[in-house]
Amino acid sequence: MIKIKFYSLLRLFLEQKEVDIDANNISVLNLLQNISEKTNKNLLDAIANNGILIPGTIILLNGRNIHHLEKMDTIVKNGDKIDIFPPGGGG
């Protein structure tokens, strides 16, 4: 099981705090497609454009930003934890 948690604007958009996806060795892109199907909300289009993550949302795989891994091609395994969060930039 892959556990995905959502925060702030995404939590409001998806109307849920977390989702479990039963999968192993899938890309982040595929995972987002699975989440979109499961939640019936188009998460992928909300945070990505043509399969590329729009700057402004961070996706953490076990506490590391996928931007510094293989981006949307990063492989997610059974038991991994994903956090998706659009951080506040203002001060």
């Binding site: 702030s8 953490l60 590391r64 510094h68 969060f85 506040g88 001060g91």
Partner: protein, 222 residues
């Protein structure tokens, strides 16, 4: 009785002395910076170094609690210094009316830690690069009715660029006063935790959402 008598009733004279002997660099004297500076002064910090290049505008007054109508058009750092010293005349304040991009060219005095109260990630990454091994940085950022906080230390945590990756800085996002003052208070609490050598947000990203009073901690991996 002195200004800090109610503080020492809680944390004692020794910790009050640690604060009195400490210096914090506040980068950005906007919504977060005003709240952090004022709370640090009321907590008993000995010295503040303020960096901000802006002047006070009318649209700042919804959240920048050190400023009022009489201050419009004046440099933020100068007004902040005046207001903060009015709370505690013994406070030492050094001000730099400069942009953070000029940080490496400035001759800054000694400080224990940095409060990241900036309003864009490009500047935050520059600020993080200036962090020395014996210092800490407490990051805060806000938007709408939520915000996040974490402590950064070289060799102990990821840096801000590793955590936040690529960010498009939104020009003037919606920010309401209760969000910025809440996050500013929590940044200050973590700064004081660091000064007392007990940081709670190393390798943790605290997310606070006022929409339903939710608080989350995401574990970050070094």
């Amino acid at each position: 009785m002195d200004i800090f008598s109610r503080n020492t009733k809680f944390w004692g004279d020794e910790k009050q002395k640690i604060l009195a002997n400490s210096s914090i660099l506040i980068a950005g004297v906007g919504g977060l910076g005003c709240a952090v500076a004022e709370i640090l002064v009321r907590a008993g910090i000995g010295k503040l170094i303020l960096i901000d290049n802006d002047i006070i505008e009318i649209s700042n007054l919804n959240r920048q609690i050190l400023f009022d109508q009489n201050d419009i058009g004046k440099p933020k750092v100068d007004v902040a210094k005046y207001k903060l010293k009015a709370i505690n005349p013994e406070l030492k304040v050094e001000v730099f009316k400069k942009d953070v991009s000029e940080l490496t060219n400035l001759h800054l005095p000694h400080f224990e830690g940095i409060a990241d109260c900036l309003d864009n990630y490009e500047s935050r990454f520059i600020l993080n690069d200036a962090l020395k091994d014996n210092q800490f940085l407490v990051h805060g950022g806000v938007k709408n009715d939520f915000g996040q906080i974490t402590t950064i230390k070289n060799e102990v945590t990821q840096d801000l660029k590793q955590i936040f990756g690529e960010q498009n800085d939104e020009v003037e996002p919606g920010i309401i006063p209760q969000t910025v003052i809440t996050i500013g208070s929590l940044i200050t609490h973590e700064i004081i935790n660091n000064l007392f050598d007990k940081p709670l947000l190393l390798n943790k990203l605290l997310i606070v959402e006022l929409s339903d009073f939710s608080v989350f901690k995401i574990n970050l991996k070094k």
